[in-house]
């Protein structure tokens, strides 16, 4: 792109694809690495003798925690698997939608097969439906109402907007707004997500791994599969 990041008459789309995205990526990277510094807090060395391998337990839990024993989660199956459903939808759209694949291909240097548009459209609509359902649940369920914060709602919005704007742009359903404006809004919504990511609960995508490892290690130390 134009070496000077800005030029006269830059359209919203040019801004979204250009300087906005560049800075979003910069803030994203700085923020993530910065927040992962949480892992560097001091720890008291545990001087008791372990009953099992912490590394083995930790690694195992990375995966097994995705499917807890039935008797533990029998009351919460809906929440758990609806949560998975929308994440799976998100990954399908993100990885197998052609425009997204092209975006990643630009960074990674290789391409991969993608799904036809109607599939992506279907997944997007279903994923948005699930997200809306979960939002309503958060607003109505007493436990969730007790523990929810502004972060939860704002992160929901930041996560939802790319689906909405992407869907409208990709399907060219733009309610009279020009296509490139819709596309610009979609890219800007992704910029917003990137900028918010390190500072809200979206960060869970990264911290889930050390967290699961640590609880797995902690229980394995006691001789218990976590």
């Amino acid at each position: 792109m134009n070496e000077g990041l800005y030029w006269e008459g830059m359209s919203l789309l040019d801004f979204a694809r250009g300087p906005a995205f560049r800075w979003a990526v910069i803030i994203f990277v700085i923020g993530i690495v910065w927040r992962l510094g949480a892992l560097l807090l001091s720890s008291r060395k545990d001087l008791s003798s372990p009953k099992g391998s912490t590394t083995g337990g930790g690694v195992k839990t990375l995966l097994t925690r995705s499917a807890p024993p039935h008797e533990l989660e029998k009351n919460i199956v809906f929440q758990h698997y609806t949560g998975y459903a929308w994440h799976i939808g998100m990954f399908v759209i993100l990885l197998f939608g052609t425009p997204h694949m092209l975006f990643f291909a630009d960074i990674l240097g290789f391409t991969w097969p993608t799904l036809p548009t109607p599939f992506i459209t279907f997944f997007t609509v279903v994923t948005m439906g699930i997200l809306l359902t979960l939002l309503v649940r958060r607003m109505m369920n007493p436990v969730l109402r007790k523990i929810s914060t502004m972060d939860d709602y704002f992160s929901w919005l930041v996560a939802f907007l790319p689906f909405l704007t992407g869907f409208l742009a990709f399907a060219h359903i733009t309610f009279g707004i020009r296509y490139e404006t819709m596309l610009a809004l979609h890219i800007l919504s992704v910029c917003l997500l990137l900028v918010w990511f390190p500072f809200g609960k979206l960060m869970h995508a990264l911290v889930i791994w050390p967290s699961r490892y640590k609880v797995g290690a902690a229980f394995a130390r006691k001789g218990v599969q976590a």
């Binding site: 923020g31 910065w34 927040r35 992962l36 510094g37 949480a38 892992l39 560097l40 807090l41 001091s42 720890s43 008291r44 060395k45 545990d46 001087l47 008791s48 003798s49 009953k51 839990t61 925690r65 995705s66 807890p68 024993p69 008797e71 533990l72 989660e73 009351n75 919460i76 929440q79 949560g83 007493p142 436990v143 969730l144 109402r145 007790k146 523990i147 929810s148 502004m150 972060d151 939860d152 500072f199 609960k201 869970h204 911290v207 889930i208 050390p210 967290s211 699961r212 490892y213 640590k214 609880v215 797995g216 902690a218 229980f219 130390r221 006691k222 001789g223 218990v224 599969q225 976590a226």
Partner: protein, 442 residues
Amino acid sequence: MSATTTVDYGTLGERAAAGLKPKGLSDEQKVERAKEAMIAGMTADMATYLESCIHCGMCAEACHFYISTHEAKYTPIYKLEPLKKVYRRELAPTRWLNRLTTRDITVTDLENWKEFAYDSCTQCGRCSLLCPMGIHIQSMIQVVRNGIAAAGMAPAELQAVADEQKDKGSILGAGPDKLREVVEKVKAKGIDVPLDKDKADVMVLSSALDFLKDEEVLAATARIMNKIGANWTIKSDGFESANFGALAGDRQAQRRISKRIIDAAASAGAKKVIVAECGHAYPVLRWEAATMYGKELPFEFLSVAEYLGQEVKAGRLKLKKVNGGDSHVTFHDPCKIGRLGGTFDEPRDVLKAMGVKLTEMESHGRTNLCCGGGGGVLMLKSAKRLREAAFELKREEVERTGAPTVVTACNTCMQNLQIGKEWLNWDKDVVNLVNLVSDNLA
């Protein structure tokens, strides 16, 4: 500076009556001390956990107190709110930004959180197994207790006994003298109790919570140890399994109390220390004592169930069939021995050796449902309603097995189940493993 060095506590009764408000601590000072304690107790693991919560609320569905009452405030992660706030504001990498969005804790928060850190949490760890993010909620409840205790606001019942145990080494007045008294009673039954041997391979612990009732458990334990033929002793300067410092959240007390056991075991040259059937005693000694003491220990801590299981498997403990082989039981895994201790097979090996028919509850082993009494909750009057609600869950589970007897290996579980049994006129038998084994020695 900790809460205990600058103030005058007066007598036990005065302390309990006053709800243990140390003279001279203002609200600001209480909050300050609570924060200091929580900052001191944080680890990198806890920081990772606190960064991970996505407010999904799944942990509630693992907690017996939530399941039995459906009150949203008992959601496990909610119990950690003060710690989360202190972490975010004081230690998190992005704390300068967090301070804009996270309120500071107040003395009212500490007051309100007594219910969540003490009354409604037995530190059973079931929530830690369910959280999809892998948050070890249980490991952090203790730090919240540390904070509340440092502010001098731990529940009076627990702090009072913690102080007594720290300063005098006794619980509810039952110290070495009481032990000697009970040992005499056991000896009078014809059971040898090698009290205060200079050196021994195995040091056995008891608990005032046991022998304040009667000498049954100590007698049973002694009989088994003698049958095994171990070179064992029980030391009057280090016999108490329970650690009320840990229950109250008073770290200084916890450390001092654990140290007595360590010193006694070291001076006896013991290789094994058998922790009596007591819930929190095992994890406090097995997992935390060495770190608090500052050195790796030359002996290993074993729970009674663990030890018995090992001895049965090694063939050193021969048992006969209970009731000639006609016995149907279910086993209630104590949370602190099982999920937080890693001991599931050993008690089952013992039961198998006694030829009982074992029907497991739906949640057993590492997923067992807490009885509702551990972590000091049994001692709290204010938690009675919660214990009763939790007991209902347990009762249903036991009844679904069809077994007429519940066997367990923890004094607190025993007591809690007994109380429930009396309250509901329940028709099941509640038996502890030590007594069962002692009655069926081959």
